[in-house]
């Protein structure tokens, strides 16, 4: 039951987000209700789950995902995860209410809620993951949704830039985190959070600890916008304000410190942890507060203040003492409360006054007293004024900063940095209140007449501010128990005694608070006017991580990319092919160089007949290569010669199946290329200019590449051929072919039975290729110089036309009269041959492939004998149906065995007595082979006919204006 509640919390936001897309685009109210109810349901489930975690236990459930990789979908909610879930869903609900009034009717609301709900789901995923890999997956999802949310107003350049920067920084951090998690998993041997949390000592003592720590810190610090990665956060302020209130105060940026606290028991307590985190936290605390003072944009001020407060949390976590961890967790909650309310208030001010510029805002209190009061209280909490929640955690922070944790200079300066940061926080908080609400209204009027917002827009702000007050005054009664559950779930047995009282007596920490308050106020009194006028912060304003980031981005993604493209890139095929061939040669050469090549071994007898055969074959190949440019027909004939020699070689080397297949494929390939020749341009040696030196050099280079490749292959083949054959799985096939496959032709049994699934894939490819060719040729446009009839046909035709007794085309028909009669008579013979090849396939050389190609050759013979039109008047061939049918037969044959409870494509066989044919082996593999046969027939015929048809299309096209292609219905498809 608890598990379903957990699943609901994570799954519902994603589900609702997808539903939001289906709503009509202008539906504001339904989308808001959808988001609101979803968030409320998540919040309710969270509250309902509290009893399950309050006793110190954890709700946990594991669904196996890829268990072999240690990757499970594990959800786990303990006290710490609970309080974050509560924070995310609670503030999420307030933000939805606020958004209802904030988003203008022109903005696409659907998209906003899609991203918002998606983000909430991913953030809840981060918090509730019980497996570290799963956590990283959700972590990256939050980066992506935050990118989409920051860039919500994508017509705005600043929004696009800010979104891109945030994504680049946080996603790179996420990659580092993934690497870090993998290292941790390697150390521990499991990615399960509970296992990892229990093996703190193992991890800290491991030599890879520092690597893992650095990578994980990189992830956490980028996400939490900590120095030196802080600059993305101010740039993300181009996001709509509800986004800033949700992501940049309560959730997204908290993910970093959440992770640090989550892994605190495992990683903390070492000098590396202390130094790196301490420095980053301290720098963020002071620098963020310092830069916040100088901001003129209200949201910019809040962004830098967030950096500073997160720095405080990081610093607390770095100390490694349990009390500091308590303070850190407490401050995470407090900061979320007051910062979310301040962001929403900033949106209200922007909405009502039309600007967020602190220099232009002034004296707003008289227009919006209630909002003004709320902002003042929230700012006071931010500054750490007593009786507010910010004061409590800040005082715990001071108390911890004074304690000595590690004997180093970082520890020594920590209290001073703490006071300095707090004093600056006081200054910018006063500045925020003073410049917006106090003072006279500015002489120039506001872009709009400011007034109080609608009640429900102000409600979330008010609710959070009241929470600040209540927690600040009665901490023990309100937040106390929840904080205790959260803290003890992180620290376990180490949970220290702590008191949440407002008054602890006159302590040093109180003194530091007072100093910070007074110093901050004095600083504002002295420098307030200067801050109001300053354009940028002196000294540290010049340290611009942003500038560095932009330079790096430009260098990597523009300059270097261009450089590489210029040096290596080309749109020309030949250099690419050269690179490819050279790389292939290198890839072959490297292992040879590394381990050598042995030529010693047993050599069979030298066979003069075989050598003579290949003398012909090699001469044919070289001559084909030489003639392919100017004498295409000759090259084709020579290619066929090599093919035939290959075919004979197959017979010679005990591969009758290959020989048969090669022979029929050779025939159809030749026919195919012959059909294509007609569309190629004339090329004659006499028409070509003599080549220059550069071209000769190119040819020489290509020739040497070809020679190297040839010599390499010779050496490689020879080395293999003379070495002893290794143990192979062939024995298995030979032994089992008959007993398990029911066939004596082992090659065929392998194809249709042992490796039937491969064959299934291969015939699918064949079908796809055929359909692709068909589709390509449907809109074939021949080049203009090939539209006219070939010269030979023109001569024949003019001869026919000169004689009134002759029909057009009669000469060609007479030429082919004898062959065409033979070919027509051969048709039944070819069909019988194909059937014979097919039926004997399982026991003797033959099978679906060779029979299919033979059958297709029979069809194409008819086309050649009598012409396309004559054949199609008499014979309806539907090759696309053959292809589909073949695939269907093969798939059904495979599925049949699944229905009988065996794996896909298991075959059955028995011998049956058929009339006339006699005793026949009949295996279900034969049905599969029938599918292969049918598909091969269909594919081959489709390919050949598609090309052959172009000749008739060409004539029709030529008859219509200037060779423009005309769509025609093709009856044979």
């Amino acid at each position: 039951m608890e598990f379903y509640a957990l699943l609901l919390i994570i799954g519902l936001p994603f589900l609702a987000g997808m539903t939001a897309v289906l709503l009509p685009s202008d539906s504001r109210a339904p989308a808001t209700w959808l988001a609101g109810l979803t968030t409320a349901a998540c919040l309710a489930s969270t509250i309902w789950l509290y009893p399950a975690v309050s006793s110190g236990g954890a709700v946990r459930h594991r669904i196996e995902w890829v268990p072999s990789l240690g990757l499970d979908f594990t959800l786990r909610m303990d006290g710490f995860a609970w309080i974050f879930t509560f924070l995310i869903t609670g503030i999420g609900l307030l933000v939805v209410i606020y958004t209802r009034y904030y988003i203008s009717p022109e903005d696409p609301v659907r998209r906003f809620y899609l991203f918002f709900l998606g983000f909430m789901g991913s953030m809840l995923g981060v918090v509730l993951s019980g497996n570290l890999i799963l956590l990283v997956v959700f972590w990256e999802l939050t980066s992506i949704f935050s990118f989409l949310l920051i860039g919500y107003w994508h017509h705005n350049q600043a929004a696009r830039d800010g979104a891109r920067m945030a994504l680049t920084i946080t996603a790179m951090g996420g990659l580092a985190l993934l690497a870090g998690v993998l290292v941790v998993g390697h150390i521990v041997g499991s990615y399960d959070l509970e296992v990892v949390l229990a093996s703190g000592d193992t991890i800290r003592d491991h030599p890879l600890y520092v690597t893992a720590l650095l990578l994980i810190l990189l992830g956490a610090l980028t996400k939490s916008a900590q120095f030196p990665f802080h600059f993305w956060l101010p740039n993300a302020m181009a996001a709509p304000t509800p986004v800033s209130a949700f992501l940049h105060s309560a959730t997204l940026v908290k993910a970093g410190v959440f992770l640090l606290a989550r892994l605190w028991p495992v990683l903390s307590g070492t000098p590396e942890w202390f130094t790196i985190l301490g420095l980053a936290g301290m720098a963020s605390l002071v620098l963020g507060a310092y830069l916040a003072m100088f901001q003129q944009d209200l949201k910019g001020l809040l962004a830098y203040s967030t950096i500073s407060h997160l720095g405080l949390i990081t610093l607390l976590l770095s100390l490694g003492s349990p009390l500091a961890a308590v303070a850190a967790i407490f401050h995470m909650l407090n900061h979320a409360t007051f910062k979310a309310s301040l962001f929403m208030a900033a949106g209200i001010i922007d909405h009502e006054a039309g600007t967020r510029d602190l220099r232009r805002l002034s004296g707003l209190f008289r227009y919006m007293p209630i909002t003004g009061t709320l902002v003042m209280v929230a700012s006071a909490a931010m500054a750490g004024v007593p009786l507010l929640n910010g004061f409590l955690s800040k005082e715990m922070f001071f108390a911890e900063a004074i304690e000595t944790h590690a004997d180093s200079w970082v520890d020594t300066i920590a209290p001073y940095a703490a006071v300095l940061g707090s004093a600056l926080a006081v200054t910018y908080s006063i500045r925020l209140i003073h410049s917006i609400f106090l003072g006279a209204p500015p002489p120039e009027s506001f872009p709009r007449e400011p007034h109080e917002p609608p009640f429900w827009m102000r409600f979330p702000v008010g609710f959070l501010v009241i929470a600040c007050l209540v927690v600040g005054i009665f901490p023990g009664l309100t937040i106390g128990p929840f904080l205790h559950v959260a803290v003890s779930s992180v620290l376990g047995a180490e949970t220290p005694e702590y008191s949440l009282a407002v008054w602890h007596g006159f302590t040093l920490a109180l003194g530091m608070s007072v100093i910070a308050l007074i110093a901050g106020t004095l600083l504002y009194l002295v420098a307030g006017d200067y801050l109001e006028r300053s354009e940028s912060a002196p000294i540290f304003g010049r340290i611009q991580g942003q500038r560095l980031f932009e330079r790096a981005t430009v260098a990597v993604s523009w300059r270097w990319a261009r450089l590489i493209e210029e040096v290596l890139g080309t749109r020309r095929l030949q250099p690419q092919m050269r690179l490819l061939v050279a790389a292939a040669i290198a890839a072959g050469a490297i292992p040879v160089v590394a381990s050598g090549l042995g030529f010693a071994g047993s050599v069979g007898e030298f066979d003069f007949a075989f050598a003579g055969l290949w003398c012909v074959g090699m001469v044919c190949a070289v001559a084909a290569a030489h003639q392919a440019k100017f004498h295409r027909l000759a090259a084709l004939a020579l290619l066929g010669g090599t093919g035939l020699v290959t075919c004979v070689t197959f017979v010679w080397l005990s591969a009758p199946d290959l020989a048969a297949t090669q022979l029929v494929v050779e025939i159809v390939t030749t026919v195919l290329i012959l059909l294509g020749l007609r569309w190629l341009p004339k090329r004659s040696e006499s028409l070509v200019d003599p080549e220059g030196l550069a071209a000769r050099m190119r040819r020489l280079r290509d020739l040497s590449l070809a020679v190297v490749a040839g010599v390499g292959m010779t050496a490689l083949s020879y080395a293999v051929l003379v070495s002893a054959a290794p143990e192979s799985i062939a024995d298995f096939f030979v032994e089992k072919a008959y007993s398990e496959g029911g066939g004596r032709n082992v090659v065929n049994v392998i194809l249709v039975d042992f490796r039937g699934f491969d064959t299934m894939g291969e015939i699918t490819v064949l079908g796809i290729v055929a359909v692709t060719i068909f589709a390509l040729l449907r809109r074939f446009r021949p080049a203009p110089d090939t539209i006219e009839r070939p010269e030979q046909q023109r001569i024949q035709r003019s001869y026919d036309e000169a004689d009134p007794d002759r029909e057009a085309g009669a000469t060609a028909a007479e030429y082919l009269y004898v062959p065409s009669v033979i070919m027509q008579w051969m048709f039944p013979v070819v069909i019988v041959l194909a059937a014979y090849l097919f039926l004997r396939g399982h026991d003797a050389p033959g099978g679906g492939f060779v029979a299919g190609v033979a059958m297709a050759a029979g069809f194409i013979l008819q086309y050649m004998a009598a012409g396309t039109i004559w054949v199609e008047d008499r014979l309806r061939i539907l090759p696309v149906l053959w292809i589909g049918g073949g695939l269907l037969i093969a798939a059904l044959c495979g599925t049949a065995s699944v229905l009988l409870g065996d794996p896909f494509l298991t075959s059955y066989f028995r011998y049956v007595d058929l009339p006339i044919l006699g005793k026949m082996p009949l295996a279900s593999a034969t049905v599969f082979d029938l599918g292969v046969f049918t598909l091969v027939v269909g594919a081959t015929v489709l390919i050949l006919i598609a090309i052959a048809h172009q000749s008739i299309r060409r004539l029709r096209a030529a008859r219509l204006e200037g060779g423009r292609q005309v769509e025609e219905q093709q009856q044979w498809s």
Binding site: W614, A621, S654, A655, A709, R744, L777, D843, P845
Partner: protein, 113 residues
Amino acid sequence: MELTLALAIGVLTGSGVWLVLRPRTYQLVIGLSLLSYAVNLFILSMGRLRGAAAPVLGADGNWNPADYADPLPQALVLTAIVIGFATTALLLVVLLVARGLTRSDHVDGRESR
């Protein structure tokens, strides 16, 4: 026997590579066909060379694997031959269509320089 076949594979590869590096589409088609012969022979030769030992089991029921040539490379090559036909056809048609669209039979769709 071994030397002859090794030389044959080398010569076929060399001729194929040379043609694949040429600028005319037709040369590419012929080159790839030659290369596929070479590759098929190479794969077949991985099972070593055996004469008169076709992997078709005799009727006597005594099936000793040592008496037969390796059937596995043959099965691989058989599908390779058919798929090779399909890819040659596809290449040819793509080149014809490209020639129709670009008016050129150069592999780049336009004459270089």
